[in-house]
């Protein structure tokens, strides 16, 4: 068994990491921008939606690849740590799928309907009508789920650095 993930899995891992960071940064920017800067605010929202939906798509492909190619062998970690790492990764996969879907629904439920597009070119259909009561529930759920995902990703990265310093070849397995 190889000790590294496949090239496609490694590339998609780093792509999804970059997209998650970018989507989070755009979320901060789009909320921070005043409404008077309408165009910039609108573009920030659309890019946030675009990258969020790309995260969802990339993670779907990653899950298919993960099902086809088992995880490479990892030595140097105790079974308990490996089990915890597996739980953490499963949680991240779940949130990587759930957060974009929650965001997609949140945008639809908002009282002011704004279309969802991929890079302003490809329209993404809506399945909900504006629903302020649902929006009031969805928005904080989307937000908390996103913060949880970012926190899990930060812990995931910090532990990877820790294990790397301890001589566990985690970065070699996931090199670009």
């Amino acid at each position: 068994m190889s000790d590294a993930w496949s090239l496609a899995q490694r590339r998609l891992h780093w792509w999804s990491a970059a997209l998650v960071v970018l989507t989070g940064a755009l979320a901060v920017l789009m909320v921070w921008l005043p409404f008077s800067q309408m165009l910039a605010k609108f573009l920030a929202y659309q890019l946030h939606k675009t990258f969020g939906l790309l995260v969802f798509s990339v993670v779907l492909v990653r899950l298919v690849l993960r099902a086809r190619h088992p995880a490479p062998a990892l030595t140097g970690l105790s079974p308990g740590v490996r089990r915890l790492a597996g739980i953490g990764q499963a949680g991240m996969y779940a949130l990587l799928l759930a957060v974009p879907i929650l965001g997609w629904l949140t945008g639809q439920a908002a009282a002011g309907p704004v279309p969802t597009t991929i890079f302003l070119v490809i329209p993404v259909p809506h399945v909900l009508d504006p629903n302020p009561a649902l929006y009031a529930w969805l928005r904080p759920v989307h937000q908390v789920a996103a913060y949880t995902l970012l926190a899990l990703a930060a812990v995931h990265a910090a532990l990877a650095v820790k294990h790397h310093r301890e001589g566990v070849p985690v970065f070699r397995r996931m090199r670009w």
């Binding site: 005043p34 409404f35 008077s36 309408m38 165009l39 609108f42 908002a110 009282a111 002011g112 309907p113 704004v114 279309p115 597009t117 302003l120 504006p130």
Partner: protein, 195 residues
């Protein structure tokens, strides 16, 4: 129902409109209705980047409609809108619309309009031409109006009229965000008249 009956008879709107007010003719030749947010709506919409339309409305306004039931083409309307009472379902948008770049409500707290019916259109409605005053700038304004429905009500029949017109916001000095919001603003008015 009278309208449906008349439509079944194939009568054109120019006959239908005076007929609509037939019950009031006996009482007075010229009736006046006071309109406000309780029996009417004033909404506006704008296109953005050609991608979507935003819609808002005014929540406080008053208007007076004079209508000669025997000559609906001689209707008169005039009114004022409180520009601070703007409602649009986007966080922060109302403050932006009240700002100097738009209605500048601190200086121009109201908009005014007046007009009169100016003939029946080919589509069976009628045209209202008049003046619109926003930010102390007066411009000509035209709306296409029509009788949307007439329905029974415990107090008497209610006739619903709708009117739609377009203004160029730049003509009133509102030139901000032209890279995002179209210059043309559609104004839609709906009134429910107890007849």
């Amino acid at each position: 129902m009278r309208r449906a009956h008349l439509q079944r008879m194939g009568l054109p709107r120019r006959v239908l409109l005076p007929a609509l007010f037939a019950p009031t003719i006996a009482r007075a030749q010229r009736n006046t209705w006071l309109l406000n947010q309780d029996n009417a709506e004033i909404a506006f919409s704008a296109r953005h980047l050609g991608l979507f339309t935003s819609q808002g409305r005014f929540t406080r306004f008053e208007a007076r409609l004079e209508l000669d039931a025997t000559r609906t083409t001689d209707a008169l309307v005039e009114g004022r809108i409180e520009t601070t009472a703007v409602a649009i379902p986007f966080p922060g948008a109302e403050d932006t619309l009240r700002s100097e770049a738009y209605f500048h409500t601190a200086r121009f707290p109201e908009a005014r309009f007046s007009g009169r019916a100016a003939g029946i259109t080919d589509a069976g409605g009628f045209t209202i031409t008049g003046r619109m005053r926003i930010r102390d700038i007066e411009q000509p304004f035209t709306m296409a109006a029509r009788l949307a429905e007439r329905r029974p009500d415990p107090r008497g029949d209610v006739a619903r009229f709708t009117a739609t017109g377009r203004v160029q916001r730049s003509a009133f000095g509102m030139v901000a965000d032209r890279n995002f919001t179209a210059d043309a603003i559609t104004i839609t008015v709906g009134v429910n008249l107890l007849v």
